[in-house]
Symmetry: D2
Subunit: 460 residues, 4 copies
C-alpha cells in the first residue's frame, strides 16, 4: 500500500508540473474554483495531470467550511448530472425506435458526470478515504437539503462496488495489534465507551475476550466496523456481568456461549453500505473453528427507540381510568430517571407494565414501511437471528435507562436456521422470536388495548 501511495504521489508531483492551478485564483470563490477543477478533471486525458487535479480538488474541498461544502454539493447536483437536454433528444428517438443497442447508449448518456468524477477522485492517493469523508459531509447536508439524495445515490452505487465484501479483510484485534489501529478502536467504539488504554486492554487481552474488525485494502489502519465478543458460560442477562473487570476469567475451552456485546460502525460516510451481516458470519465461522464446544452464539444488544415509543403510546391513552402506562412513566419521572430502579416496590410494578410492552414493541409494532421499529432489531433479524430474550434492568447506565428504561435484549444465532430465518424475514417480514418473548408479547396489554392494530404500525 505505501508503495502504491509513493508511486501515486510521484506521478502526482510530475502532473503538478504540467498543470497550472494558478489561473484559478482569479475566480470568484473557492467553490467556483473546485467546480472548475472538477470540470477539468472530467475532460482531462493525461494521467499525471489528472492525478494532480484530483489531489488538488480533494485538498481544496477539505479546506471548505460547512456552507462551502453545501454549495459544492449543490454544484455537483446541478452541474454534474447528465446533460438533460441531450438526454431528452435521445429519449425521444428511443421512444420510437429503441432497442438493446440504443438502450445501451441511453444508459451511458444518462450516467451522471458525478460518477466519473468520483471514480477519478478515487484514483488519487488517499482518494478513497477522502470520498468517504465527503459522503459523511453530504449526509449531514442532506438533512437540510433532501435534493442532495440524488448525489448520494451516486456515492452509494460506487461505494457498493468498491466495498464489495470480496475485498474486506477480517482481522482479530488484540494486544498484539498496532497502536495505530488500537487508538482507532478506542475512538470508534459507539456502544459501551472505552475510556482509556487500560480499559481497551480489558476488552481485547483477556483470554475470554475477542474483538474482530473488517478492513479494506485501500484504507489500511482504518477499521470499517468491529464487533466485541465475550466468551461466557451462558447467555448474559445484563451488561454488568459482561464488562465486569473483576469477573473470574473463563478459560476459552470452558466457554459455552460467545456473546456479541458491541458492534460499532466506524465510518459514518459508509452508512447504508452494509457489511455488518457479513462480519457476524465471518466471526461465527472463526469462533466455531477455534472453539467447537461453544453452542450459543448470541448478542447482548441495546434497544433503540423504546422509550420514545412508550411515551408516544402513553400520549395515546385516552381514558384516565386506564392509563397504566402514563402512570408508570410518570412514576419513573417522579423517582428520577437514573434512580427509580433502586426503589424495589416501584421496580417490580414497572417491570410488570413495561416488559410486555417491550415485547410488543419488538414483535408486533411496525414502521410505516412494515419493518420493526428498532434498527438493531432489523439488523439482527435480517441476519437470521432470533429474538431470544428481553432482559429487565440489563443496563442501568444513564444512557441505557434513558433510551430503554434499562432493557436490553439477546438475539440468538442458530447456525442451521439463520439462512431460513433471513429469507423469511426478507420476504414477509416475519419476526423470529422465542416462545418466551412471544408469550410476553401476548400478555396483558391493557394500556394499549384501545389502539387499533394498524395505528400501532404507524407509530414511528
Amino acid at each position: 500500500m505505501s508503495f502504491l501511495n509513493d508511486l501515486l504521489q510521484s506521478i502526482t508531483e510530475r502532473g503538478r508540473a504540467l498543470t497550472d492551478f494558478g489561473a484559478l485564483t482569479q475566480k470568484a470563490t473557492p467553490v467556483d474554483q473546485i467546480a472548475e477543477l472538477s470540470a477539468r478533471l472530467l475532460s482531462a486525458i493525461g494521467e499525471a495531470s489528472g492525478l494532480a487535479t484530483a489531489a488538488e480538488i480533494l485538498t481544496r474541498y477539505e479546506a471548505l467550511d460547512d456552507s462551502g461544502k453545501g454549495a459544492f454539493f449543490e454544484r455537483l447536483l446541478h452541474e454534474f448530472g447528465p446533460d438533460v437536454e441531450r438526454l431528452r433528444d435521445m429519449a425521444r428517438d428511443f421512444a420510437e425506435t429503441g432497442d438493446w443497442y440504443t438502450a445501451n447508449r441511453l444508459h451511458a448518456e444518462s450516467e451522471p458526470g458525478r460518477q466519473k468524477l468520483f471514480r477519478r477522485l478515487n484514483q488519487a492517493s488517499g482518494g478513497t478515504i477522502a470520498l468517504i469523508r465527503m459522503r459523511s459531509d453530504l449526509l449531514d447536508a442532506m438533512k437540510d437539503n433532501p435534493d442532495l439524495q440524488i448525489v448520494d445515490r451516486d456515492f452509494r452505487h460506487l461505494f457498493g462496488s468498491w466495498f464489495n465484501r470480496g475485498f474486506l479483510e477480517l482481522r482479530k484485534i488484540d494486544w498484539q495489534t498496532s497502536a495505530a489501529i488500537l487508538e482507532k478502536i478506542i475512538k470508534y467504539e459507539a456502544v459501551h465507551e472505552i475510556t482509556d488504554w487500560q480499559d481497551l486492554r480489558g476488552r481485547i487481552d483477556p483470554p475470554d475476550r475477542r474483538l474482530y474488525a473488517f478492513f479494506h485494502p485501500r484504507i489500511q489502519d482504518e477499521p470499517l466496523i468491529f464487533v466485541e465478543v465475550a466468551l461466557m458460560q451462558d447467555m448474559p442477562s445484563d451488561i454488568r456481568s459482561v464488562l465486569n473487570p473483576d469477573r473470574q476469567i473463563l478459560p476459552p475451552d470452558k466457554a459455552k456461549a460467545a456473546i456479541f456485546y458491541s458492534i460499532s460502525d466506524c465510518q459514518p460516510g459508509l452508512r447504508g453500505i452494509s457489511f455488518g451481516n457479513f462480519l457476524i458470519k465471518q466471526v461465527i465461522e472463526e469462533l466455531r473453528g477455534e472453539l467447537p464446544f461453544i453452542d450459543r452464539l448470541a448478542t447482548l444488544s441495546p434497544v433503540r427507540g423504546l422509550a420514545d415509543w412508550l411515551k408516544e403510546m402513553a400520549e395515546q391513552e385516552t381514558s384516565s381510568a386506564d392509563s397504566k402506562l402514563s402512570r408508570a412513566l410518570g412514576r419513573i419521572e417522579e423517582l428520577a430517571i437514573d434512580d427509580w430502579w433502586t426503589d424495589e416496590a416501584a421496580e417490580a410494578e414497572l417491570r410488570a407494565v413495561l416488559m410486555p410492552l417491550a415485547a410488543h414493541y419488538f414483535v408486533t409494532a411496525r414502521s410505516r414501511r412494515g419493518t420493526p421499529l428498532d434498527p438493531i432489531s432489523r439488523f439482527h433479524l435480517g441476519n437470521g437471528a432470533r429474538l431470544e430474550r428481553i432482559n429487565w434492568l440489563a443496563d442501568t447506565s444513564g444512557a441505557g435507562l434513558k433510551s430503554a428504561y434499562g432493557i436490553m435484549v439477546n438475539y440468538l444465532y442458530k447456525l442451521d436456521e439463520i439462512e431460513k430465518n433471513h429469507e423469511r424475514f426478507v420476504i414477509d417480514g416475519t419476526v423470529n422470536a422465542s416462545a418466551g418473548v412471544k408469550k410476553l408479547a401476548r400478555s396483558d396489554l391493557k394500556p394499549l388495548e384501545k389502539l387499533p392494530e394498524q395505528e400501532l404500525g404507524e407509530a414511528s
Copy 2:
C-alpha cells in the same frame, strides 16, 4: 483469502440445502436451465440461496461446450438486457418532462440485467476468475457473432471497476517465490518462451535479472500481467545478448540500463482492461529506488505486423522498374525466410531497403483510426515512451523473422518526459521518436514514392 472462501463455501452449502435445483432437470437443454437459474438469481433475495444459485450457474456453465456457451451468450444478449418496452414508455415521458431526478431513474432502468447478474455471480467463491474465463469465451464467440459486443460492454464496465489499479498488488517474482506461482509464469510467458524450470531460474534468479507481476486480492496465485527485466551496461540491440545464459553476470550496482524485454498478459479474459502502463510505472519506481545509478530504462520489443504491412506495400508497387521492395521480399523468399540473413551480400542489401521502411512503418503509417499500426508501439508510446532505435537482425528466431524480418525496437522511458509524451500522444497522436529514427524515416523511400500519402494511412 482462503478463509473467505471457506466462509463462502459454508454459506453456499447451507444455501444449497434451501434450494431445489432438481426441478430444472426436466427442462429442455442445459442452456435453458442456466438461463432459468440466472433469472432466479436476479430475483433471489436470500443470501445463501443466492450464493448456491450463483455457484450452480458457474459450474453448469463450465460444463458447456463452445456451442452451448455461444447459445448462453445469445440468451444474455436477448433476455438479460433492459426491458425495452418499459424503457420506451419511460423515455417517452422523459422526452417531455425529463429532469435530473427522472434522468436518474432512466439510468437505472436502462441498466442491463446482465450487470446485476455478473455482480451476483462474482459473489460466489471463485466467481471472479470464473467470470474472467467466461469473458475469454465471449471474446472468442464475438468473432462469429459481433452483436455479442453488447454483452462485452457490461463485462468491460464491471472489470474496469473490479480491476481498478488501486487493488493491484506488485510482487517481485524470484527463486524465493512459490512453485504455485512460478509454474504459472512458465505457462503464461508469451514473448520469449520459457522451456523448463531451469530456464525459468535463469530469468529470475541471477542478480542481473528481475521479474515483476501484478496480482489481484480476489484471485491469488494467478498473475495478471508480468514484465521481465534485464540489468545491462547499455541498451541492447538484439535479444541474443539479453537471453544468453553464458553471459558475464553483471553486478546490479554496475548496471546502467534496465531493459524490459518481455511483457506478458496472463488472462485473455481481461483483454482491454489496461494495467500494463501502471505496471511499467511501478516497476520503474521500484528499480529507481533500488538502483539509483541506472539511467536508461528501455525495452527491447518485438514488432507486430511489419511483415504483413511490407507485403501489402509491395503489392501496391506499380512500376516494375521501381519495385525495390517487391524484389527485396522476393529475394528473401528465394533464400528462405529462416536463412536469408546468413547470406552477407543479401543481408546488406535488404537492410538498406527494409530499415527505412520499418522507420516509416512506426513513424508515419497509421491505421484508419489514426493510430500507429503496431499494438506494442501504441502501448509504449501511449505510456509516454520514445521510439529510440530500430535494430536490424535483432531476433533471428523463426518467429522474429516471420513477423518482422528479424527487426526489434527499443522504446526509451525518460522519467521527466513520459507524462508530457503521454499527454501529447493521447491528444494528437504525436509519435515521439529519436532523431535517429526520424532521420531513417525520412531517408530514401523510393519503393513507396508512388503511394499517395493518405493511402498509406489506410494501409492496415
Copy 3:
C-alpha cells in the same frame, strides 16, 4: 537475516581494510597460513578485524583439497587444544589444594582453543553453514584418523548448543513454498528418491500428502531434516500403495492414518545432533490439531542391516543338515536378487524362513553396546514408538531387496504411551513390540538354534 548478513559483510569489509593478509603468502603451505590466521583470530581483539580474519579462514579452508583439510584437522588437534604443560602444572596444584574456585579455573584452562576458534568463525557471515560443512569433512577424515574424534567433540558440544531445539522452526512445505527450498527437498530426499519437479509436486500438493521440515534462523533456506507424510485409510503394508500416483486421492477429513514414510537428514555435518525425535513430535501435534479424527500415527520404514546380519547368521550355521538360512539365501541368489520374489513357490518358502528371523533381528538381536542393530529402529523406539508390524515384500525396488529382502516395518506412535516407552527404552533398552511381532520372534528359529544367546548379541 539478509540484513544481518549485509551488516556483517560491511563490518568485514572495514576489517579487511585494517588487516594485512598479504604477509601470509610467503608462508610455506596454505594449511600453514590458515593455522596462522586461526592463531591470530584467537588473539584478535578488534571486532572488524576478527570478522575479516574469520571470513578469510573460511574462504581459504573451502579452497583446500581433502588432504589439505585433513592436514588442517591435524593442526586443530595438535595446536588448538589446551596448553598441556600449563594444565599439568595447574592440575598438580589442584590435586593438593583444589576447591570449587580453582575447579572453575581448571575448567576454563582445559577448554581447547578450538572451541573459541569455532565460536569466532561462527560469527562470520555464513559461518554456521561453513562450520557444518567443515564438520562433514571432519567426519569423513575421521574414518582414516580416529584421533580426530577429539576435535569432533568440540563440534558436537557447540552444535548441540547452537541447534538447540528452541531455535528450530517447523515449516510445512507445499506447492506454495519457494522454489529455492523445494529444490533442496529434491536434492536431500534420501529414502525414496524424488526424480523431478513433477514427482516433488506429487509429494506435497495433493490434499492427502504433507511434508514438514525444520529450519534454523541462521541458515535460512536450508532444511535441516524433513519428514514426508501420507494420509491414508489404514496403516499400509507396502510402499507401492503409498507412492502410487494413480491412487484415489483421499480427502483429509476421511483419513484414519497419518504415515511417516520418509525421513531425511539434510546436513551430514549435523550427524548425531539429534532433532528428529522433536520433529516427529511437532508433526504429530500439528496433525492432531488439524485432523483430530486420525487415530493411527505410524511409519512405513525401511530396514537397515538386515541382509548383512542374515548373511552373518548363515555363515555361523554349522551343521549342513540344518542350514535352512544358508539354503534360503542361496536360493535367492540363484533366482537373482531383483527377481526371486516373482517366483511364487520360492517366495512362500522364503517368507517362512525370513520373517521370523527378521522379527528376531528387531526384538532380540543386539549390538555390543546392547542396542538394537537397525539405526532406524533405534531412532523410533527411542522416540517411544512401538514396532507394530513387519511387512513382507513391502519394497521390491532394487535397494529394498538388497538391504532387507524387500521387508519394511511399521512403527506405531501412540501418544499416551510414547513418553513411557521412551523412558523404558532409554533406561533398560526394552524393545516395545506388538504381540504379533513378538509372536513371530518366538516362532521357529531352527536356523539359529545352535547359536548361544550371547553370541547373537555380539553379532554386529
Copy 4:
C-alpha cells in the same frame, strides 16, 4: 513460537503424569525440595519427565522469597559444582601423564553440574526468560555474597552462547508496533522517562523520530535493549531541544544528524552480556541505507559519576586558599541543587570551574583497572566513537543536575574510523576525543594541581 510452547506444554503435561512430585512435600524446606528436584533433573533421562521437572523447579523457584532464593543460590554453589574429590584424583593423574585426550576428560569432569542444570531448565517452556530473571536475582544476591560469582560465571557462559548476536533480531518500533511491545518500551525506558502513551507516541510516531530494539527468537515480545533516535539539523547541545514536543518537525530528507539520545537495557538479568555495540552498528547501517544524506551520527548522552567524582576531588583539596572546587560545590549547595543554574552570575562562574574538570574526568581520569570512570563513556569509546563535545546545562532536570550538574556529552560515530578507534581503545585504552575536548581538558586545573597524577587514577 506459540506453537513450540504448545508442544512443550503438552509434553510437559504428559511428563507430569509420569512423575511424582508429591513425595517431595515431606521434605524440610521449599529450597530443599527444589535442590532435590534439581538433582533429579540432572539424572533424569526421559524427555517428558525432564520437562515436567524443569517446569516444576522454575515454578517453585519463582515462589521463593529473597532469602529462599539466596539459600537456593548457596545450594547451587556448593552442591552443583564439579565433584572436587573426583576431580582432584583426576588432576593428580593428569599432572603426571596428561595429554590432549585426558585434558578433554578433565575439561568435562570440571564442568559444574549447574551448567547442565541450566541447560535443562532452558528447555522448559518459558525457560529462557525464567533463567534471565533468576540471574537478575543472583546479581542482587551477589552484593551480599560475592562467592556467588562462581555461579554467575556459568550463567554468563551460557547466556553468551544463547544471546549470540546471530540470533538477535532488529525491529523498528513505531506506532504500527503492537501494544504488547509498546507497553514494555514505556516500562523499560531508563534514561528519559516516558510518562504515558501520548509521550510514547511522540518518541516513535513523528517522522523525525526512530526507535529500534533487539529481540530474541525465544523470548518474543520482550525487547532486550533499545535505542531512541532523533533526526535533527545538527548535533544538539541540550536535551530540551531533542524532547521538545512543540519543535518544528523535520522532514527526514532534510535531516543532517541522527542523534542517539537514549539507550536502555531492558533485562537486568542480561547485564554484561553485551549487544549494545551491535545494536548501534545495525541502527547506523539501517539509517545510512534509508537516509544517505545524514552525515553526523552522534549521541546526546548523560554523564554518570561526575558529581561524585567532583565531590571526592573537592575533599582532597588541601589548602583552603586554593579550594576553587570546594567553593564552587559549596556555592551550588547554597543556591540549591535544582536552581543554582538560573542565577546568571553563579552559572558563569561555575561553568568556568566545572567544565575543564569534566573534560579531565573523561579524558584523563581512570579507574584502578585503567578504564574511563563513566560506564557510558566506556561503552561508546569501546564501540569506536569519539568524545566530541561536552555540553554545559544540557540537562536541567533534577536527575541531570544531581548526577552531573547538568552536563551531557556527545559521542560521535564516524563510520570510517570506528573500527580503528575501537581497536585502539581495546588495546591501549586510548580515549579518542575531539580537539575541543582535549583543549578543555588541558586548561587550568588549579583545583586539582596538588593531586599526584597516579592518585587521580585511583579515585574511583
